[in-house]
């Protein structure tokens, strides 16, 4: 990539934004290291660390064996003793085997030890459907993390947020889980290094008056597409991209719904007991008086993810149906 050209920043991929964020952070702070399976020579399963090994060497970009719990655990130990590790888990689905180190250790160390020490680490990982990865390579497990006090949880939807939020995630001393959607890596947008994304602040990506679509990660783009379609029906939808699920910017959600009086919560996770349940509760609780219709949560199905492409596509929310449910709510 030729990062000296403005056009590079005008149309940068999500992937390159992430690479650049790590590049910049590593250049500024030599305590930042990357570790994970195939993050070095291979450049990351989805290419997000490509080039970093060449630039920073194998002491700072560390290829690990296929040992997820220990990758996270090692990052914890490094973070407690002076480094700022970015540990990559190739798929979010590998939370299954590493939740002890993530949820029982990194999230709780500061608390259990009475505030003696912080664990300044980032767990970068990748999730979601879209590539027929099947039930064990396509999940959305953010609700597990959102349930764990002590962890920040970041799920950006565009290159600018990806860049700034990853840098902030590395800088903060609180262990942070950073989940990238596999279908976003090739998604392009502009990046302005001066246009910092405020960590913990939701983004009103589209202003609107009739209904609020509250979402995050890849579904933000689905929501925007649906909002476009809704314009044809003379409906002006507001789209809120949460960006960070912890901290969660309740204020922006509530203000939006209090304005539009209608809400659709959109998530690629399962319906039951997912992030959408939490957001839905928050809206009902706080906008009970202003809501003209019940909040609707539109999510993936309550089944494992099927492999067959035709099933996988119907398994998650579709733009067409987002539009339709908005119309239904407003009816």
């Amino acid at each position: 990539m030729n990062i000296n050209k403005q056009e590079f920043f005008d149309k940068i991929t999500f992937r390159d934004s992430l690479r650049l964020a790590m590049y910049d952070e590593m250049s500024e702070d030599d305590k930042v290291v990357i570790m994970g399976e195939d993050v070095g020579k291979y450049g990351g399963a989805y290419g997000a660390t490509k080039g970093l090994l060449d630039k920073f060497g194998s002491k700072r970009v560390i290829d690990t064996p296929i040992s997820e719990p220990t990758i996270v655990g090692t990052a914890i130990g490094a973070a407690m003793t002076g480094l700022k590790p970015i540990a990559e888990l190739m798929y979010v689905d590998f939370f299954g085997m590493s939740m002890d180190q993530i949820g029982n250790q990194s999230a709780k160390i500061r608390y259990m030890f009475g505030g003696q020490i912080s664990v300044p680490m980032v767990i970068r990982t990748q999730g979601g459907t879209g590539r027929s990865g099947g039930a064990q390579h396509s999940q959305s497990l953010e609700s597990w993390i959102m349930y764990m006090p002590g962890l920040y949880l970041v799920m950006p939807s565009n290159p600018n947020d990806a860049y700034h939020l990853l840098r902030e995630s590395i800088k903060t001393n609180t262990p942070t889980v950073f989940i990238e959607h596999k279908m976003l890596y090739n998604f392009t947008g502009s990046l302005d290094k001066n246009k910092k994304t405020i960590f913990g602040k939701a983004n009103k990506v589209k202003n609107g008056n009739d209904i609020s679509i509250i979402t995050y990660s890849r579904m933000t783009n689905f929501a925007l597409e649906a909002a476009k379609l809704l314009e044809n029906n003379n409906i002006s939808a507001e789209v809120i991209d949460l960006r960070t699920l912890n901290p969660l910017d309740k204020k922006t959600i509530i203000e939006s719904v209090n304005k539009t009086n209608h809400a659709l919560v959109l998530s690629e996770g399962h319906y039951t007991s997912g992030v959408a349940s939490e957001i839905t509760s928050i809206i009902f609780e706080n906008c009970f008086k202003s809501l003209k219709r019940p909040v609707i949560r539109y999510t993936a199905e309550d089944t494992p993810v099927p492999v067959a492409p035709n099933l996988e596509q119907k398994y998650i929310p579709t733009i067409e149906r987002i539009k339709q449910y908005c119309l239904d709510i407003l009816n």
Partner: protein, 342 residues
């Protein structure tokens, strides 16, 4: 060279060749855009282990495989039509297209499932062997996995349990020298996997040659010992001839390395031995190969012609009973309906 031995080698050759051609057709299916996704892990070059080990299995024996398991399944008797259809994500596949390449299974054949989680299927066979011991039948259960899984803790927990309870389990490592782009030297401190297995009390066998017949006989002995005396470990050294998955062009290793290593081809080795020992002549082999090629063409066609599954299939097979899963659409419609007159 007696005729029994003759037929062993011929069998092994046929099995290995069928794997090879099957995988080539999967690759073609991919190129044609007919596979479900790109996560297709081919075992070209690694045919010896699957052929020998499955041939040493008996009725009722079971196994699990890793993500690179087409060859093992096919060698054990998997139906290539249904396999190919599953890989294509179609209705006629083994799992109705819901599992795909990495989650293919066949309970009738004792295939307890491929697994997309490195190491994920290993303890399954410990449990199966526990059943066999409890039920007092004479079966073994075999876990196939890659060298990468040697770095998954669950393997050692499983080895210990199998050893503690003296279970009829075979841990079979197909060591193709790579875990994705990471060479084995960059993944382990010490490469002697047998030593690890021994330290947990397992009987071990290390195969690092191309002689399939010899390997088969050694494996057969070991599996019979396992049936009676307890758990064992097999390492089969080989080389992953191509990229990790369909899109990987292996930029992390040199072309020389690949060319050099592809020379160690178990199928060529077997073919030459068959010719040298005059088990078959060149023409026989040509027509055998042709038969295999035709068979796999048919399977590929079968997969391509198989219909996709109905949308309603999303909702089946989640729970055992007739616990009906409400679709999200239904849930939403209900809520909208209840609140209609507000």
């Amino acid at each position: 060279m007696n005729s029994k031995s003759n037929s062993i080698l011929k069998d092994l050759y046929t099995t290995m060749k069928r794997i090879r051609v099957f995988e080539e057709r999967v690759a073609e299916l991919f190129v044609r855009g007919e596979t479900a996704g790109t996560m297709l892990h081919l075992s070209i070059g690694e045919e010896l282990g699957p052929a020998c080990v499955t041939k040493a299995m008996q009725d009722g024996d079971t196994f699990t495989t890793h993500h690179r398991g087409h060859g093992i399944f096919l060698a054990r008797g998997g139906n290539p039509d249904k396999m190919m259809a599953e890989i294509a994500g179609k209705k006629d596949g083994y799992c109705k297209g819901k599992g795909g390449s990495m989650h293919i299974a066949d309970m009738n054949l004792g295939h307890l499932g491929a697994n997309a989680i490195v190491g994920g299927g290993i303890p399954t066979v410990v449990g199966a062997a526990l059943s066999y011991k409890y039920l007092n039948n004479n079966n073994v259960s075999i876990a196939f996995f890659g060298d990468g899984a040697m770095q998954q803790g669950i393997l050692y927990e499983s080895m210990n349990m199998a050893s503690l309870w003296n279970l009829p389990v075979v841990f079979c490592c197909i060591n193709n020298q790579y875990g994705m782009g990471t060479k084995i030297d960059d993944a382990v401190g010490i490469k002697d996997f047998s030593a690890r297995a021994k330290s947990f009390g397992l009987d071990t066998l290390h195969i690092n040659h191309l002689d399939a017949e010899k390997a088969f006989l050694d494996v057969k002995d070991l599996i019979e010992r396992t049936r009676n005396d307890g758990p064992s470990f097999i390492e089969v050294e080989c080389y992953r001839f191509f990229g990790h998955a369909r899109k990987d062009k292996s930029p992390y290793r040199s072309e020389e390395e690949e060319v050099e290593n592809r020379k160690f081809d178990p199928i060529n080795f077997a073919k030459e031995k068959i010719l040298a020992d005059k088990i078959l002549n060149a023409n026989d082999i040509l027509s055998l190969d042709k038969k295999i090629s035709d068979e796999m063409d048919v399977s590929m066609k079968f997969a391509m012609e198989s219909p996709v599954n109905e949308e309603s299939e999303i909702f089946t097979d989640v729970y055992d009973e007739n616990y009906s899963i409400e679709s999200v659409d239904n849930k939403i419609r209900n809520i909208l309906k209840i609140n209609e007159y507000k």
